[in-house]
Subunit: 546 residues, 2 copies
Amino acid sequence: MSQDIALKMYQRDRHRAQALFKHSPTLSKSASLEGDHLLHRFEPDWSKFEHVYAHELLPQKDGCKKTSRFLQEVVDVLIDYVHKSNDRSTKVLDFHHPHTLREMMDHCLDIQEEPQNLEQILSDCKETLKYCVKTGHPRFFNQLSTGLDIIALVGEWLTATANTNMFTYEIAPVFTLMEDIVLTKMRECIGWENGEGDGIFAPGGAISNLYAVAVARHTVMPDGKTKGLSSLPRLVMFTSEHSHFSIKRAGALLGIGTDNVVLIKTDERGKMIPSVLDAEIERAKREGGVPFFVSATAGTTVLGAFDPFNDIADICEKHKIWFHVDGAWGGSALISQKYKGLLEGVQRADSMTWNPHKLMGILLQCSAILLRRKGLLEASNALKAPYLFQEDKQYDVVYDTGDKAIQCGRHNDVFKLWITWRANGDTGFENRINGLLDMSHYLQQKLKERKGFEFVLENPQFINVCFWYVPSSMRRLTPGPERDARLHKVAPKIKAMMMEKGSTMVGYQPLGEKPNFFRMIVSNAATTQPDIDFMLNEIERLGEEE
Amino acid sequence: MSQDIALKMYQRDRHRAQALFKHSPTLSKSASLEGDHLLHRFEPDWSKFEHVYAHELLPQKDGCKKTSRFLQEVVDVLIDYVHKSNDRSTKVLDFHHPHTLREMMDHCLDIQEEPQNLEQILSDCKETLKYCVKTGHPRFFNQLSTGLDIIALVGEWLTATANTNMFTYEIAPVFTLMEDIVLTKMRECIGWENGEGDGIFAPGGAISNLYAVAVARHTVMPDGKTKGLSSLPRLVMFTSEHSHFSIKRAGALLGIGTDNVVLIKTDERGKMIPSVLDAEIERAKREGGVPFFVSATAGTTVLGAFDPFNDIADICEKHKIWFHVDGAWGGSALISQKYKGLLEGVQRADSMTWNPHKLMGILLQCSAILLRRKGLLEASNALKAPYLFQEDKQYDVVYDTGDKAIQCGRHNDVFKLWITWRANGDTGFENRINGLLDMSHYLQQKLKERKGFEFVLENPQFINVCFWYVPSSMRRLTPGPERDARLHKVAPKIKAMMMEKGSTMVGYQPLGEKPNFFRMIVSNAATTQPDIDFMLNEIERLGEEE
């Protein structure tokens, strides 16, 4: 018995044990002698996977050991990647143009008629990771979602292993309960009484916003579900000119039409101007349209602006229009006592989008659409398919969430959030968010101190810091179209150079009349002040080189 | 140096090494002496995680070792679950009613203000898995997607670790190339010349079908994108009465209206009747509607029927209507030389949905929408958001897929499919699919041999086997409404009992006038003939008990 267990342990850990023994002279002899003796007595040598194929793993009858060994081997590769992602001496990415990368990976990209052995599969994994952008690297600032949270990673690994579908309690009992608990907690953060209301996790903020428009549309015109929109009056929706494009796309997709998505002017800080909203609603009515939906933004994509929610809520109440808040980016500020004031008035919303995969560091994807009133999601989407949502089940089918969704099968996006929230507590998340804001303030301070950097917007409300780098050769140009035209080309060039070098990644874009500028985001808890300095030095250096 | 490495190895593997040494008397003394000596000299004892918290892991400066150790510990828990899922002596599930489960898990479900230590987090993971339905268990037959493929699992673990977003080549270079390669291969399977065309991975078949309707709508009425549907003629779409409800839901969501989703009658085998389709199209035209979309199904959800694609393609050509094939379930048959004939004519489709997360055993979610012509996806969905899809990037932006999508951020669903396809080759997938069909034929044979089992449909086309179990007490009843009413209650009762017992899970539903019956699916490569026998014995035994 004891020998049997030892053998199992040894087989499982042979690779590791050998490495251990190799470097520990006292142990090596006895260990390798006894271990190898045991091993050779019972087992063929399959320490290498060259002669092992996928079909030999579980569920193959004798696949247990091979499966464990193979998974362990893969995990070693993955853990190594996690370490490298956190190692500042490694590049953020190893950039190659699409056709070049394709050629470089030619030996492993194509799918063949015959299976590849597991040694090759391991090599494929390593090769893939080699050319991945390290989104968890402390100097990756390119997106609103950066970083690699270890607990969230654990959450996604477990989610994959449990491999189930969120549509019914029947096959996702624990995760269904967790979804209920987490959505309730998020609604409490919004300020809805007792966390009551409704909601569902959706594959990303764009789909969460789509849900909001769909439910609002159904609420104002329930006949649309059966009759369609061709026989109904022209619906009109409103959002700020700085809002995320997914609002407009929802208008296109849901048959509202982008002409009927009115983009409301913003002030110089990127916040929707309430009086303009009110006037546009009036105008739409005069022109025979039916205003039904206003989307305000909590944290716009570029400037990080928060619309004036209370003013907008007043207008929506006056006109009896659905009030949605797109908090995909800024919603997470609700967890911080220090910054939740940015969302003042949000509790008056009918619905809110909130992406924990952004500021809360949860792995992609994790987005929720939250609704103040119960029943509307289901009224809007339910079709009561009898092969999925049988009413004669033995348990309370109110726990089956599938008929609220616009998806059928739905990935479990809640577990990783739930476990990360458990591990951090409210206080951990609050510290995280406050720390990121501190880092943003540090960056702003540095920008003020350095030459050649100009703010697009000084003292922004949130994490986003938008700035130009003006190379010294351009600093004496008179402000105007010519300077703008030259400045427009600077950020793309610097970005291209930093990518070729692999040193760091920062996003850029134009905005209205403003030429291309950098939008710097710190949403990665790995980033330190020296990383910020590094990034600024890099922009300056590359900007002077070009 | 060597001592240093040994120490590192030892720390990482202390837990394992101890277990190994414990059972290996010859090794134990020297190992534990030297190991513990090294350990105590340099490091505090954190073999337990009771005093370790999430914020001490990476990216915390000295978090490397703790992170490795913690991830290893989690992986041990996950591998244990994988083994249990494949162990027939374990239950498929440990069923509890929602309120009971909530009480049972009360000590760990709620999210607290303060963080939980990592020992608790490990315990949370174990507790969660304890109450999960083992969807990879050889006796789990409840859904179209069952099983736990190890390579696909590896794929999802790596995907989580690489944690990136599919919207641009910039941050997903390798995965973007893989998506192109895999979609091309899928289009080749359909039979489109050189695999040309377009496509994208979507979060599930329902959304893939939604894409198809949206693109078809845009193609027939491009003005709808800007003007909306209220000013346009009434659009009408067609699908069989046995098709998946997501087609109807797409009609509701996209503003077509469910009244304008015409459900075409099927024959006794569940196949759409082409002459009825033709007549309904004519009728819709006479009534002022604009027929624009026909969805044929490759493998219906309940009976597994394949519509007559060539006949339907003829009708669509005649009327110049978009021809879509919903192959979410049956599309994978294209990989089998033996069964691809089921999809004869599919190459004439304008679009096709295909879910590798069903028959190909890929983890949830993995679904593709494939299109015969290039450019339509983008025409339908693009909004050219300047902060994401800059035209002045240094690489060829044709590789940025984001503006084709209705999502903004998009999960990487391709890597797990790519790596599993690499590991299995075409032949491996073909063997898998043929094997599942063989198992379905075995089940049909057994049903014919046993008493009390009645086919809903004899000799089905595909894997789905639909049958009633008629308890002996009901076998002498005259066929008719009274017998049907009693029979209607049998499957739910048996299902409830098998769930309470945790022995197996099979789905049931009514269909039209037909009372509740079992729909048996073998899509799990782990299932053997004795598992089929077990399931039939179980139904019989529980059916007689009730």
